[in-house]
């Protein structure tokens, strides 16, 4: 249905939510005149937010299309109110133009604004450079490591030095693999009590420091993904003060949870990087408030049920988040940083980081929006999750808000 009337909604226009109004939507445009033959949605005061942009999209295609397909991913994006995202596969490195072209062809039919990260090394092995100039000229938004950085410092330097010719941003999940070793939780009190191998903060901060120093030396723009502790945020602030173009994000679940939840040994909380201490979680919220953190990332990672329904340490790490991110965090986020900054963190800044187009809510222009009732709690039931996966720590839990639907690329999706 491409004609929709949203009644009694509060659209976000020019930096704030407007009083209750009716929005007439036709073929992806917010039109001024009245329309006929449209479906009518009673908003009951719901917020009409600009649609969101997801950092950290991975649909596990094509190697695991038994558990998740691109179509599943698109459905999740509509249900969660995302108009676009930055795609980086952990299993299928985009390291040549043929692979890029193939995935661009798939995405071009989706209607979503999907930016793509190219790999900076062949097969993520960090032994040989990928053809970054070709990839850049064919449209990648930046270069990444597929979340498994195992480069020597020399290779890291050469990759950034070579890739700098493209002026593209480099994306890193800062985690020292040797310090991580077999760790699967934060190296802290809880790990000691449970007797599990931990991942220390320095596994992150050492790599953050190395990447920042290398980027400063080479003057390469970088993005650091899923920062988990105050020490890393401090390093990022210092690098910015020294003139580096560095952006960073924090993961959705790292803002919602800390290591205390691990006492239940629920394998849905097996995430990399790990959930850290309550003090670390608080530091991330402080980072959001004082502007060090640029974005909240989704890190949408489908994991097969049988790979999650095992003991904690043997579970595959990762969580899906597209369907639940907004209703799970909106109210708390607005309480901490206000509405405008909340949208910066969930929509505008992620799109800028991925070099994608930004959402703008204006009459007589194209819009993508998500309708959210911030005061209506909802339960994350399996039926709202797309694909043959359910790996979210919020499964069957109540969250503070509810998405009523989304209108993306002219298509209304009722949730």
């Amino acid at each position: 249905m491409n004609k929709v009337i949203l009644k009694n909604v509060r659209p976000f226009v020019q930096g704030s939510f407007q009083p209750l109004t009716t929005m007439n939507l036709v073929d992806g445009r917010w039109v001024g005149e009245s329309i006929e033959g449209a479906i009518e949605i009673e908003g009951n005061g719901a917020l009409a937010l600009p649609a969101l942009f997801a950092l950290g999209l991975d649909f596990q295609e094509p190697l695991r299309d038994d558990i998740y397909t691109f179509q599943n991913g698109y459905t999740a994006m509509r249900r969660g109110g995302f108009y676009g995202g930055l795609y980086e596969s952990s299993v299928n490195p985009i390291d040549d133009v043929q692979k890029l072209s193939a995935i661009q062809q798939i995405f071009s039919k989706s209607g979503f604004q999907l930016s793509i990260l190219g790999s900076f090394s062949k097969s993520y092995k960090c032994e040989q450079l990928a053809e970054m100039l070709e990839l850049a000229s064919c449209g990648v938004s930046g270069f990444g490591d597929g979340n498994h950085l195992n480069a020597t410092t020399r290779f890291l330097r050469l990759a950034m030095e070579y890739g700098a010719m493209s002026s593209k941003r480099f994306f890193f999940l800062p985690l020292d693999l040797s310090l991580r070793s077999a760790g699967c939780v934060h190296e802290g009190d809880v790990a000691d009590v449970l007797g599990m191998k931990g991942i220390p903060r320095i596994a992150e901060t050492i790599v953050v420091h190395t990447i920042l120093e290398t980027a400063l030396f080479l003057k390469v723009p970088i993005h650091l993904k899923q920062i988990t502790c105050a020490e890393s945020l401090n390093l990022i602030e210092q690098a910015r003060a020294r003139g580096l173009d560095v952006t960073c994000d924090v993961g959705l679940y790292h803002l919602l949870f800390d290591e205390q939840v691990l006492f239940d040994l629920d394998s849905h909380f097996n995430l990399i990087p790990p959930l850290r201490s309550p003090q670390d979680k608080q530091a991330l919220w402080d980072g959001l408030k004082r502007g060090v953190v640029d974005a909240i990332s989704c890190n949408h990672t489908p994991v097969l049920r049988q790979e999650k329904e095992v003991n904690f340490e043997d579970a595959v790490a990762g969580a899906i988040s597209l369907e639940v991110a907004l209703p799970a965090i909106w109210s708390t986020l607005v309480d901490h940083v206000g509405e405008r900054r909340a949208l910066d963190l969930l929509s505008f800044n992620p799109a800028k980081i991925a070099c994608a187009g930004l959402q703008k809510m204006e009459k007589r222009s194209n819009i993508d929006l998500v309708l959210l009732d911030p005061r209506e709690p909802s339960v994350v039931s399996p039926k709202i999750l797309s694909g043959a996966v359910q790996n979210t720590p919020l499964l069957n839990n109540q969250i503070p808000s509810a998405i009523k639907g989304s209108y993306i690329q002219g298509l209304w999706t009722q949730v």
Binding site: Q128, L129, E131, M132, E134, L158, E161, Y162, A164, M165
Partner: protein, 311 residues
């Protein structure tokens, strides 16, 4: 009538314009000799030259050897594959042994930067650098300059683009010092992993990352050989990408002056740094470079041995 201010030829950095002028003018004279039916002069009769090559070389060693023979010098070839160096002899001992044979002039190639200077510091012989590490290859640059002058007249204000692995190229270094001393405008172009990292010393040249901009209105384009090892060493992703972004193709060369010279120190990786179509075109002067190499080396050997330019 003039001799050179330099006593040895280590490189072109710091060599005066008048010395370079003298070498090029003398080389031009020897170029005439090479066109004669009898291509030999007695200028270095009684002079013994050792070609001391610690690195593999065919073109440069052959060119020097031919130059020495054309000048009637006595020539000895000393290569690592057939020498006592393989048996563990030090560089200094090798030099002392050779010097004990009463030689006059040493032409040396070595992988280490500064070896010619080291030899000169420990020997009475005249030293000519035939390539030391990635430092300098002065006779290659001189023959490049001679070739450009032959076609374009004076080097002054000529636009010369050097494209390729600048960081590891002794040819590029010697060329940029020599060409700028003679008043040419030099533009260097390389992938960032193959470009000099610190450029304070290179303030007399222009750096450009876009090959089309680098060759824009150039009077001569020098393509450098790309070593396969650069991809193995993670400095480049592939020869294919290098060719697509830094190779000299017809499309690229259209940005240069219509009569721009195409040059290459050889051996060429056809289809990598230089397309065959360009290498074999009327604008290519690559084989003339080879001929001029003999004339330039004759001039260098002759002048350093005390010959006067007018003789």
């Amino acid at each position: 009538m003039s001799t050179l201010q330099i006593k040895h030829l280590f490189g072109l950095r710091g060599v005066s314009q008048s010395d370079i002028r003298t070498i090029l003018d003398t080389a031009m004279d020897f170029r005439q000799v090479l066109e004669r039916p009898v291509k030999k002069v007695p200028s270095l009769r009684g002079v013994t030259v050792v070609n001391l090559f610690f690195e593999n070389s065919t073109r440069t060693r052959t060119s020097f050897e031919l130059a020495e023979k054309r000048l009637s010098a006595d020539t000895i070839n000393f290569t690592t594959s057939s020498s006592s160096v393989k048996k563990g002899e030090t560089l200094l001992d090798t030099l002392r042994n050779i010097e004990a044979m009463k030689i006059d002039l040493v032409v040396v190639r070595h992988k280490g930067t500064g070896v010619p200077k080291f030899l000169a510091d420990h020997s009475k012989a005249i030293i000519v650098n035939a390539g030391d590490g990635a430092h300098e290859h002065p006779t290659q640059a001189l023959l490049d300059m001679l070739t450009i002058e032959q076609h374009l007249g004076s080097l002054k204000n000529k636009r010369i683009a050097i494209i390729g692995d600048i960081r590891h190229s002794r040819v590029a270094r010697s060329n940029l010092w020599g060409l700028t001393t003679m008043g040419a405008h030099v533009t260097l172009c390389a992938p960032s992993t193959l470009a000099p990292r610190n450029r304070e010393f290179f303030n007399s040249v222009h750096f450009e990352q876009d090959v089309r901009k680098a060759v824009h209105e150039a009077d001569a384009v020098i393509a450098l050989r790309l070593q396969k090892e650069r991809t193995d060493d993670s400095l480049l992703p592939s020869m294919r990408e290098y060719r697509n972004f830094f190779g000299i193709t017809r499309d690229v060369l259209e940005q240069a002056s219509p009569s721009a010279l195409i040059m290459h120190p050889g051996p060429i990786n056809r289809g990598v740094e230089l397309d065959s179509e360009m290498a074999d075109s009327d604008q290519s002067v690559i084989l003339e470079q080879v001929t001029n190499g003999v004339a330039v080396r004759m001039a260098v050997l002759f002048l350093l041995s005390g010959g006067r330019a007018s003789e």
